[in-house]
């Protein structure tokens, strides 16, 4: 539901192309002999919501800290609104940031926290109370102005941190996993809240997370990072449907990898054999072509696979393989089967079944057939 809504809104928002709000050029960050960020480059248009997604230690926070000005890149250049900021200290940059652990000032009230950036940035003292009230209302905490920070709940503190980051109307909003500590329900609420506020104010936002669902739901663009390198920079649907390499394919969604070697290459399709099973899929990389005999792996997502008791129920699919159910995981809205495929050297794949009432619900040990279409198999070099 939420995905469909943001999808529509995104079309509406995308009018004329805005100017470049953030530009990162060949940025490196080296700690000792460890390269935490490796040659990162990207541009972000004004008003867009970018999410940086990646596993722990992939360099997300480091990248964000360099943009905020807390750390200087070892090499490379960062420009905000077209102006290089290499020599601009953090307090002179117009950037609002929500920290992972919030970093609210414990000795101040909620309102004093929100007023702090206004005082420091020399806003007209007479306008400060009204502006603080406006932003407390925006995060729906109008009645909590005089509470101390420790008298607020986790979610309320979160929203004070957002108000503090936004109140001076920065050119850029940075979010460093501020939702990671919240429980799932509150987190999903806050994700939509972020999106609502961000759209209401039109502020350019960079959000860091390792929650792929959050990234898909709230972003205009997603950068996937691994080992300090940017792996892909694309719209959420493209990141999901056309991952640029096997890391991205494996990191987002539940993906099965089938290893094999190439037997034949046509214009759009690659035939390869995994174990004794001939398979077919799409070659993704545009710059290199596969050659016969090359080791490859085909990626197919759990929701693109169907499972049935007999092969005739999978008639409409191009590939069907016999297997046996190893494990059944009931997840409420869907059932996950782990199926072992003898003809693929006993590879175990995961299959989602969203509508168990239509099919037989299989038990562990059951003999089944799984099937998929060749167009849903993305083939990457090993």
């Amino acid at each position: 539901m939420a995905v469909a809504e943001t999808g529509l809104d995104r079309l509406a928002v995308e009018g004329p192309v805005g100017s470049t709000a953030v530009s990162v050029r060949n940025v490196n960050m080296v700690f000792g002999d460890y390269r935490a960020v490796d040659d990162a480059s990207f541009d972000l248009q004004e008003g867009k919501f970018l999410t940086i997604l990646g596993p722990s230690g992939s360099g997300k926070t480091t990248l964000l800290r360099m943009i905020a000005g807390f750390q200087a890149p070892t090499s490379g250049e960062i420009a905000i609104n077209g102006i290089p900021v290499g020599h601009v200290p953090p307090n002179k940059r117009s950037i609002g940031m929500v920290f992972q652990k919030l970093a609210l000032f414990p000795h101040m009230t909620a309102a004093q926290n929100v007023a702090f950036p206004l005082k420091m940035r020399r806003f007209d003292a007479r306008t400060i109370p009204a502006r603080v009230a406006k932003y407390l209302d925006l995060v729906k905490l109008g009645g909590f102005a005089n509470r101390r920070i420790h008298e607020l709940s986790g979610g309320q503190q979160q929203r004070i941190a957002i108000a503090r980051a936004l109140v001076f109307e920065p050119d850029l909003l940075l979010l460093d996993e501020p939702l990671a500590a919240l429980d799932r329900k509150l987190r999903e609420e806050m994700q939509l809240e972020f999106r609502r506020i961000q759209r209401e104010l039109g502020v350019t936002t960079i959000n860091v997370t390792h929650d792929q669902r959050e990234a898909l739901v709230v972003s205009d663009e997603i950068i996937v990072m691994d080992k300090g390198r940017i792996q892909q920079n694309a719209k959420p649907s493209a990141t999901y449907r056309q991952p640029s390499n096997s890391f991205v394919a494996g990191f987002i969604g539940v993906t099965n990898f089938l290893s094999g070697s190439v037997t034949d290459v046509t214009d759009s399709e690659v035939a390869f054999i995994a174990g004794t099973q001939p398979l077919c899929g799409r070659w993704v990389a545009t710059d290199v072509r596969p050659s016969a005999g090359q080791s490859v792996k085909g990626a197919v997502r759990a929701e693109q696979i169907r499972v049935a008791a007999t092969p005739d129920r999978l008639d409409d699919l191009q590939t069907t393989v016999a297997g046996s159910v190893m494990d059944v995981i009931f997840e409420g809205e869907r059932v996950v089967y782990e199926v072992r495929l003898a003809s693929l050297q006993d590879a175990t794949i995961r299959v989602f079944d969203h509508d168990p009432s239509q099919h037989a619900e299989f038990e562990a040990g059951a003999r089944v057939f799984v099937g998929w279409n060749a167009r849903d198999v993305l083939v990457f070099a090993e």
Partner: protein
């Protein structure tokens, strides 16, 4: 279940023993101060406030007490800026002479006070300031400063390092960040340290003994001088006044920052 219960009983027994042992001298001196007799005894013989009346009359005791307050005040006033800055620096930055500083922080436990006292006496003698009261305050500060630094370091060490970055991100230049964010955050440590310095200076005996002359004796030295001749219950009464001062300090601490801040692992 039973082991947990046994553990609780064991812990409580320990706590009770500690409380009794720790408070016994205080209770004894408190009782002795209310005696109606002329000898310092416990339990007291009859009840009266006559020894309190007597110390209120004794100008030498009262003046010595005021001098001790003055010394403690000087000590605390010097310790607050020096100790706070040193404590924050030690907690936050890779200080260059960290090893040397750590040794300094251990000094109060390793060097006998008599040693430091003689050293200071020589220095002050050379500087020609012996015989004045304020150098005694400075001396108390020098000797006890590690306690102040510790209190501040503990506070600063538990500080979220992002707090200062957040202040910068809000637009605060370094000085404002320090004054408006770092300092208030370490205030509990500063207050604890100050009260500790105050009480330690108020009670300081050995160093005062070496640095004062007959005209400017502080209270502990005055008491010492008296017990050399005869031990009378007025000394118990003056001790109770001392204890009262400490209790007052603790109350102030509780009012200002809340004792729970220190009782929790902060």
């Amino acid at each position: 279940m039973t082991t947990a219960r046994g553990k609780t009983i064991f812990l409580w027994t320990l706590v009770m023993i500690s409380v009794v042992v720790l408070s016994a001298p205080t209770l004894v001196v408190l009782g002795a101060s209310f005696t109606a007799g002329n000898m310092i005894t416990f339990p007291p013989q009859g009840l009266s406030l006559k020894w309190y009346a007597s110390i209120a009359q004794a100008t030498d005791l009262r003046e010595a007490f005021l001098r001790s307050l003055y010394v403690a005040l000087i000590c605390t006033l010097v310790a607050i800026p020096v100790g706070t800055l040193a404590g924050i620096a030690l907690a936050k930055y890779a200080v260059r002479f960290e090893k040397a500083l750590q040794i300094y922080l251990l000094l109060p436990f390793t060097i006998p006070l008599i040693g430091s006292g003689i050293g200071l006496m020589l220095i002050f003698g050379n500087a020609g300031i012996l015989g004045q009261l304020w150098p005694v305050g400075i001396a108390c500060c020098v000797i006890n400063l590690p306690f102040m630094i510790w209190a501040v370091t503990a506070s600063a060490g538990s500080l979220d390092p992002d707090l200062e970055l957040a202040a910068a991100n809000c637009g605060a230049p370094p000085l404002q960040t320090f004054l408006l964010v770092t300092l208030p955050a370490v205030t509990p440590g500063v207050i604890t340290g100050s009260l500790l310095m105050f009480i330690l200076a108020l009670n300081e005996f050995l160093v005062s003994l070496l640095l004062v002359d007959a005209r400017i004796v502080t209270l502990p030295v005055q008491i010492y001088n008296s017990i050399r001749s005869i031990i009378t219950p007025d000394l118990a009464a003056i001790s109770v006044v001392f204890i009262g001062c400490a209790a007052l300090a603790i109350t102030i601490l509780d009012r200002l920052v809340g004792l729970d801040v220190f009782l929790k692992s902060k």
